[in-house]
Structure formats: C-alpha cells, structure tokens
Symmetry: C2
Subunit: 343 residues, 2 copies
Amino acid sequence: MVGPARFMTLLSCFELGVVDALRERPGLTAAQLGEAVDVKPDAVEQLLFLLVKERFVAWDEESGGYTLDALAEVPEQDLRRALTYMNMIKVVALRQLFYLTESARTGTLVGLKELYGAEGTLYGAVAEHRDLRESWATLMDTVTTRIDPWFFEHADIPAGSRVLDLAGNTGLGAIHTYQWKKSPGLRVTTFDLPEKEQEALANFRAHGVAEHCSFVGGDVFEKIPSGFDVVLIKHFLDMFDRDDVFRILRGVHDTLDVGGRVNVLVPVYPEDPHDTDNYNVDFFPAFFVGCTMGQGGPQKLSVYRRWLEECGFTVTATVSKDPAEIPSDVIPVPAILSATKTA
Amino acid sequence: MVGPARFMTLLSCFELGVVDALRERPGLTAAQLGEAVDVKPDAVEQLLFLLVKERFVAWDEESGGYTLDALAEVPEQDLRRALTYMNMIKVVALRQLFYLTESARTGTLVGLKELYGAEGTLYGAVAEHRDLRESWATLMDTVTTRIDPWFFEHADIPAGSRVLDLAGNTGLGAIHTYQWKKSPGLRVTTFDLPEKEQEALANFRAHGVAEHCSFVGGDVFEKIPSGFDVVLIKHFLDMFDRDDVFRILRGVHDTLDVGGRVNVLVPVYPEDPHDTDNYNVDFFPAFFVGCTMGQGGPQKLSVYRRWLEECGFTVTATVSKDPAEIPSDVIPVPAILSATKTA
C-alpha cells in the first residue's frame, strides 16, 4: 500500500539534489538543505523522514543535522545503476500502472494511449517520445552491458557459425556476438524491422565490425530468414503471450536445418512460486501487461524448456543467474536456454 | 523499486474480478478465470504470480487451479476497508507521485494541475472531480467512523461546553461530538468555509441534532470565532507546514478565554525515527507534499506538544493509538493532544 509513496519519496530526495548536497556538506540541517536545493525546509524534512527510517541517511537529534548513512557506502556506479532503474520505472511505469486493469482487460496499453496518445507498444512509443526513450534506452544499455558477457560465456555458438540475432534492434547484440565469440568465418546478422537498418549499419562501422556483421529487415511474425546455423533470441520471448512465443519458436525451427541451434535469453520466474529471492514476479507482470506490451511476461525456466521442446527443439543446456550474484537494485533474474533442432 | 508494480498488480486482481471469481468458484484455472472475467488467460496468470508468491492465493501445479489462500481468511469488512485505501491511493496518489519532485520544489500540486488542470489543493479539486471525490470521500468516511469513537473517548470536553469544530467540513464531526459527548447544554459549532453551510445544516437536521449544532462560515487563517470553551482540531494541523500550524494554534489561543481547551487529533510519526511498526513515515510526506496540499505532513507527538506550548497552551494529556491495535491495512497512527490555555 505504501509502495508507490516509498518509491517516489526516495527518488525525489535524489532528484531534488538533497543526497548530493549531503554528500558534499555532511551535517546540514533541514533549513540549510532547503536553502542549498531551493526547496522549503519543511518539505525536505518530511521527505527525509523515510530515508532516516531506512538508515539511508542519519539524523542527529541534537544538532538537527543530516549525514549520509548507508548511502555513503554505496559505490557511485551502483548508485547510478539503481537510479537508472528508478528513473525508468518512474517515467515508463508509474503513471501507466494506473491503467493496469484496463490494459489487462483490453490487451492494449491504455496508459500509453491516455498519456501520450500512442497506439501500439512502448517500443514504438520510445521512437516518438524523448522522455520515454531516454529513460528506457539508458536502462537497456545498462542491462545489455551487464548481461551480455554472461550470455556469451554460456551461449552455444560454434566457431565459424552464421548467426542470426532475432529482433536484434540496431545491432548491439550482433556487435557483442562478434566481439565475444570471434572465430574465423563467424558472421552475424541482425534481423529487425527495416527502419532499424541504417542505424545498425552505422553501428557496425563505428565498431569496426562491418565486414562481419550485416542487417536483414523484416518481421518475425511474417518470415524469418534462413541460411543460419545459430539463432539468438535475447530479451524477446518474454514480451509475448504463449501463442506468439510458439509462433516465434516454430518460425525459427522452420528456418533452421537439423543440427541448427537456438540460444534464448529471458528473465525467468523461480520454480518455487513462493521463492522470495527473485523480484521478477513482483515487477514483470505489471510491467509487460501494463507498461510495455499489453501482453507477455516471463515464465519459469521449466516452462520455456517445455515450450522449446513442444516446438521441436531438444534443450541441450540451461543456466540461470543466481539471484545472490545480482546487485540488489537489478530486477531481472535471467536464464539462458540452448537448444538444437534434432528433427 | 517494485513497490508501484506490486501495488497495482494486487489491486488489479480485485478490479478485474479475479478474486471474486475465485471466491465463488475455487479451483478455476487461468483459462477458466480468463473466461469468467473476460481477460486473456495469459494476463490472468501473469498477475496471479505475485498473489501466489505472497500466499494470498494458492496454485495447484497438478490441476493448474487457483484457490484463495490468505485472502479467504480476511473478513469482508477488512477487505472492503483495505480496498477503499488502495483505491484512494491509486486515484489520488499514484499518478500525482510522478510529479513529487516538482511539487516539493514549488510547494504546489504539479500533478493535480497536469492531470486535472486544477490549481490549489486536493480538497478544492475533490469538489470539481467526481473520481477524486468518490475515492477520497469514501476513505475519509471510513477513517472518521473508525477514529471518532476513540477520539471522543479521550477528548477533554466538559459537560455543557460550547464546542467549536475547527475546519469541521460539512458537520460530521459536530454530529459525532453531540452523539458521543451529549450533556445538558452541550452545543457544537462547525466552522468551515461558507460554501459548506447548507450541506452542514442539512446533515444536522438529518441526524436530529439541529437544535444542538450550528454552523459558522469563515477562514481559519483570517478570523476564528470566539465564545467557545473547547476547540476541536481534527485531521487538520498535519496538512500544513510549521508556520501555518503556528498561525492556526495562535489564532485559536487568541479566541479562547483562560481555561479554554483545545483537543488536537493528528497522525504522528514515531519518536524513534527507526521504528518500523508505523507506516506514517512511508506514506504521508509524499502524500501531503505531492498529492493533497503541496506542503504539510505529520510530526512526532513530542513536536506537536512543543508547538502547542510555544503557542501558549499547557498540554494536559496525550494519547497515541498503539500501532498493534490498528488493522494492518490502515495507515494513520493517530494521537490526541489535549491542552488548556493557562495564560
């Protein structure tokens, strides 16, 4: 019940500059802080009550001065990542969540329509709306940078493969594939909507991988290109309901030769539905149904395994990130499933 | 970080009718539930993951059927009260919180302006906007009904007093005063903005207290009427920053004769700033600063005591509600301060 208020109280203390002011000048009182950040001291005092309660900030009753407590220990990089998450949740989710019930009922993003007049999904709206794009893209880059080294450590991509990065956006996944799995003859193709081509090609050139990477434009639900040994499906299946996941997996299966491989990266729910180490369940249903797609959401690893097998694949390896290894401000607990077309 | 998503996921399961469907027909699968409430089964399954995690709902892996778990034990009345709170937080707070930083910076309700084009406070906007009014008034009636018996049990109101209910809205507090503290000669006057008069007088007649209750129109910050023995200040001081609280208390002090009394009902923060039993700190700063007033918020009981004494009163009694006595879905932990003008 107090979740929304707690979330914004904490974020506002950063946005107002209160935390930075305390980092620079420990011991400021509410009156001094108010002057430093140009906010009425009464409001500063009110918002800081929660941070004192949570021991993020300490308050000295005698002097009335505040100092950073737990927040003083958080490395700059971790703090920046946490704030990137919080900003994305504020901009993309907080207001849209108001419409969650209507979005679930209609399978469309009612909030996006009400707030931005946008039809379709968040992924379309980010192209049009700078505030959405900045908060979203900044987070996604953070996530990709953190997850991709782990993904390529585990993904089944034999030397010299012809790799297709399905829904590969503007080529970052293809660039990472080449950088992390470089081998003689390795070629990587980004497959996404045709309007992404120019930016993808520019990215390939900027990263010096243009002779190893290419782009094919198209729609996953119409025709997936053939002629590849390995297909990567990263951060994608979780965006869709079961029927569309099956369309995608069957489409990939159709294009591969026997022996062809697929590597799937998805957030997963814990097998034990009462597991409290994993926040995917707290966040993603409302986020996908209410804020980004009007449908979709992750599944358990065992469900993705079953779905892959129902679509004709043999799962050869799975690996889940241990929630304990993930910084506590990072929500997705991801998994990789590697599978081969055996018939 | 997951607070907003958790909040709306839970509320949506009620709004969609999923919980009611399970109460009527335990054991429904996601597919059956989807049909019952006309929502795609995939979305029902996604939203229920959190309720299963929290053991509000149980899920049987073998049959795929859901049944109410902890939610089955919650008495209807408690559930209705919790949903009244959640609905108020959704309608009044969730979207406005997006603008909390700007509201704190300007001391105005930026969200109310953006969302409703409304200037001023929530209390003005509820008169104009039915969705705000319904969610807000329903909750306030619930709160008043629950708190007033406790308030009148402790308030210092001698027999036969002439009582002024400061900012008494449309008379409910005056009616309760008469009903709970009836004594020969007791007279209660509601003081509020003149536009509340007709509704207040109608309420007095409807409750058969018209000969004991009256209405005076005016503005607390201009002139408080005199000629009273006891002033009640319920749910009001917490709406203002310190300087306005002092204007109110000094205004009341000026109108009373020596020996006159004041009874203050306010939510209070715990004296120990790290106390975790009390959710006032989690909720009210963002709620007052960002959603209802653009200022204000509760204080500790000791602060209100000091403020009363600085305004010329002698505090004669204080009582706080024990958080353990308050249902866990109710946020405010209130206190009563009784004080006398001694000089």
